[in-house]
Amino acid sequence: MEYDVIIGLEVHAQLLTETKIFCSCPTTFGDEPNTNTCPVCIGMPGILPVLNKKIVDFGIKLGIATHCKIAKTNIFARKNYFYPDLPKGYQITQYESPLCEHGFLDIDTNGGGKRIGITRIHMEEDAGKLIHDLKGHRSFIDFNRAGVPLLEIVSEPDMRSTDEADAYLRELRQLLVYLEICDGNMEQGSFRCDANISVRPKGSAFFGVRTELKNMNSFRNVHRALSYEIKRHIDVLESGREVTQQTMLWDEAANATRSMRTKEESHDYRYFPEPDLVPVMVDNAWIGKIRKTLPEMPRERRKRFEDVYGLPGYDADILTQSRDVADYFENCVSLLDSPKEISNWIMTEVLRVLKEGAADIKALKVTPKMLTSMIRLIDDGAISGKMAKDVFNEMAKTGKSPGEIVKDSGLKQISDEEHLKSLAKAILEDHKKEVESYKKGKTQLIGFFVGQLMKATKGKANPELTNKIIKEILEE
């Protein structure tokens, strides 16, 4: 029996604001516990929330980028439940009137492009962090994270495979990073994903019972958890039983999902409109102002790199991973119309240097002007590709221009034909045996001769020219 898989994803994105959603405490990650707190975010008696405008800005930005309808009137609501990491005993969120609705995100999978619907995007606050001390039968609570702003992004159950789910998550994550509203760090918890999953016999019109899946803290775990849960559903159905609707946790150590035991047994959150916050009215002027700040969307930029610059999909993908790298690339191309060559240099050397130094491309000493000058030197034959690698490393280290570096180190390539000819003749004279073998048919010995000449010139001979000259001499 074949089965269809139906997956919906719920993403919580922590926003890159300076301050929390309802108070002016910093949102920095990794500080000493409870040092970024105030009476408001730890839910003291008598405190009141005041909304950070940036949250709305970011929500509108994401809504525009995902083609959502932006709500004119925004109300907050209280979601009431008891948990030690929830200071007020309720979470302030949006229930009946989310900021954005009915949008979509286009993704690319092996099967082609697909449009995934986005049901809603809304604003809410994050809870604190619990650290369990199992041996001591107790838990520690750090409220630094309490009140950090979140956007909850709920997709339609449009995904039909783990690949599609993966593609959606990656596309969404990249979008959030491009828009500079979230840093997309799954391991640190600034980009969190829960799934709703069900299966049904192929061709069936009905949806199967779904389970909720939590605690998937990396793309790899998302894939494994979904795959596991799909198989589990199928196994249950194949054995003639029914799937129980419940919340499952992905247990990385056990490589399996298991049922969450102590979740609020009745999901009676008693939502009601938040009386301490007044409505937020979003008008067209506000939306227009945000719209102007939108960058080109990653997917569109990828396509444009392919179409306009003629780059292969692989290159376009890597270059547009980060907005800054893509900008760097385009700056280079505006100085030197050689997109593929530039792309190669960025993909290999530039990204390597960044990775080694764990640095931002904005901090890279090699500017687009320097890189393109260097490439010009190669194209002109002044230096070889191999020499250029050294020049690049020197530029990255010192920030000196390629011209300077070449001059200082006397690296200039020898491209004088006459000079090379006489050197070549001398080498061939010294290796008469090999010349005989070459003439008898061992043509790969050309590499040997070129190597000898390179050795004699300490690597400065222009390799292509050398090759040509030696061939010509041998053919005489």
């Binding site: 301050t19 516990p33 040092t35 030690p84 609570i141 035991r261 102590t262 409505p279 009215m281």
Partner: protein
């Protein structure tokens, strides 16, 4: 009977308040009489009426995204019933 004993127990659980037997019996009686009184509202026609949450018509009470110093750790923990290593402590939770 507007509310049953089962519902009284359910609500107490939802509100995380342990009631003794006397309280359960008492609230069963009192809540029922109060809720009977609330029936009064069902005689009002509210078909085209929208609910009120705020009596003044303010909107967009917003704050700029500017950092302010948080309160010192000792203030945050000043009233904590149980604390250690800069954190609040609660009895263990199994997830």
């Amino acid at each position: 009977m507007k509310i049953s004993l089962t519902e009284v127990k359910y609500v107490a659980r939802l509100a995380r308040i342990r009631l003794n037997e006397e309280e359960k019996a008492r609230f069963l009686k009192e809540l029922n009489s109060i809720l009977d009184y609330m029936d009064l509202l069902s005689e009002v026609d509210t078909e085209d009426v929208s609910p009120t949450t705020h009596t003044q018509h303010i909107t967009n009470a917003l704050r700029e995204d500017i950092k302010r110093a948080s309160q010192p750790l000792k203030d945050t923990l000043a009233n904590a019933p149980a604390k250690a290593d800069g954190a609040f402590i609660v009895p263990g939770i199994i997830e």
